[in-house]
Amino acid sequence: MPAGPAARDSRPPGPYVGWISMDAFFNQAFAGLSMASILLMVALGLAIIYGAMGVINLAHGEFVMLGAYSAWLLQTYFGFSILVSLPVVFLMVALIGLAVERGVVRWLYHRPLDTILATWGIGIVLQQLVRMGVGTDSRYVARPTILDGNVVLGGVVMSNYRIFVVVFSIAVLAATWYLLTRTEYGTRLRAVIQNKEISECYGIRSERVYAMTFAYGAGLAGIAGALVTPLVSVTPTMGTYLVVDAFLVVILGGVGSLMGTAVAAGLVGEATALFSFLLNDTLGRVAVLCAIILLIRFMPQGLFPDRVRR
């Protein structure tokens, strides 16, 4: 249905469905896809840490934030582009994750409530350390110059950087799948998840597997934080917002399925973007939350429940 002649001047050109500009709609959908990709990397780490050790890591948002600050640090003081920084950031945040696991979390594996409190506390400490060390001002990281520019499809403008983020997150998903299902580390991890005692009887050091897994999850959060820096400003509290959505993704996707996490990240990212576009930011988030609560009401195990007999 074409828009009325009076409205035509103030609205974007291109086709319309009702009062919705299709170009604006698809632009928003693409922005949603790139945020979904960031969300996927954050949620993957959360889901793996929860799936392996049953730890609800409330410091995960701070791992994202530390990844972002690491990228900022490497760019500001060493002139590294994000692309160069990514592996360094992964290692830096993975090491911080390792220290958190060895120092605190490993003593609390048998006490789930205490891990929640402890990781929450660690998150606050990390935020405060950053505030004291770097200050509370927003920091900005430039996107890599080779990813300047856009791909234009009709009325839809897709920045090369966002396309890169989407592709990269799919690569991270594939690498994680490979790591978990096709490598010996992954087999050891899956063995420990299913039967820790028997795994140890067959020479697997579950302690070490847990430590590596926690570090890997933290590293993924770090990468997500580094990748998001050209899209949002870097602040000590930036992780909180992302990690709430990531928790929704994990709940929606169900634990123990990479596919579930991926689909749920896509749904949450897109739903947030499109509801915000159709309503407004605040109402959009409320709508997403209600939709998830409804879904979980009818599918308590998430979208991809684990249907294997034991």
Binding site: E184, T187, R188, R190, A191, Q194, N195, E197, I198, S199, E200, C201, Y202, G203, I204, R205, S206, V308, R309, R310
Partner: protein, 231 residues
């Protein structure tokens, strides 16, 4: 080879194994018998380091097991086949067997061929999930997993419990063959007195966590069985 003296083993604060002494020679066949709940499983779990605490001495070929973490005990060549089999349900048959090789000292990850000669069915089912096998097949898989590590000693906990009678005989034959032909030391928890008598060099009768009687296989008479094993 395996020696315990004044061994106590605890779950929480309760001593489940109390003041146990035994000695298992290399290449021998030892049966552990006793009524339900006397601590047979707990004794094997104690050897693997799966109870909460122990006191007393426990040595394997000179090594002090008492303070050794479970994963290192596996690497010494102690293959544990637990009650209820505890194969990994979401692993394929192949993954379950390969898991046994993680305890190998030489780092090899290939499945020894003789395992498929003992259990041909496992070769056909390599790609199936462990959780989808029947009880008897899972028991064969649990033994195969232990064999993949190249064990010096096998700890078997009621391997024929809840298994179809036609497979029971086959599993008993395999256990005998592993001991007699391959020279693997066997420690077997068993309810079937007939098989224990026939197979064992030595039996250990447990009662309420303590050793009630030990002796050579022939001494496991029907009178003994009536006294200690019937309810």
């Amino acid at each position: 080879m395996l020696e315990a003296s004044a061994l106590f083993s605890y779950y929480g604060k309760s001593p489940i194994i109390q003041d146990v002494d035994f000695r298992v020679e290399a290449g021998s066949f030892t049966s552990i018998l006793g009524r339900n709940g006397v601590g047979k499983t707990t004794l094997l779990r104690t050897i693997m380091g799966l109870t909460d605490a122990i006191t007393g001495a426990l040595r394997f070929e000179g090594a002090d097991l008492a303070r050794m973490p479970t994963h290192r005990r596996g690497r010494l060549g102690i293959g544990y086949i637990p009650q209820g089999r505890e194969i990994i349900p979401r692993f394929t048959v192949r993954e379950n067997i390969v898991m046994g090789t993680y305890a190998r000292a030489d780092g090899k990850r290939s499945i020894p061929e003789f395992i498929f000669e003992l259990f041909p069915i496992l070769r056909d089912f390599l790609g199936r999930r462990g959780g989808d096998l029947s009880g008897g097949q899972q028991q064969q898989l649990a033994i195969a997993r232990a064999l993949a590590m190249g064990p010096r000693v096998l700890l078997l906990d009621e391997p024929t419990e809840g298994i179809q009678p036609n497979i029971v005989r086959q599993i008993e034959d395999v256990i005998l063959k592993l001991n007699r032909e391959m020279g693997i030391t066997v420690i077997l928890v068993e309810q079937n007195v007939g098989f224990a008598r026939r197979a064992s060099d030595q039996f250990i009768l447990l009662d309420k966590g303590r050793i009630a009687l030990t002796g050579t296989g022939e001494k496991l008479t029907n009178e003994v069985a009536d006294e200690y094993l019937t309810f």
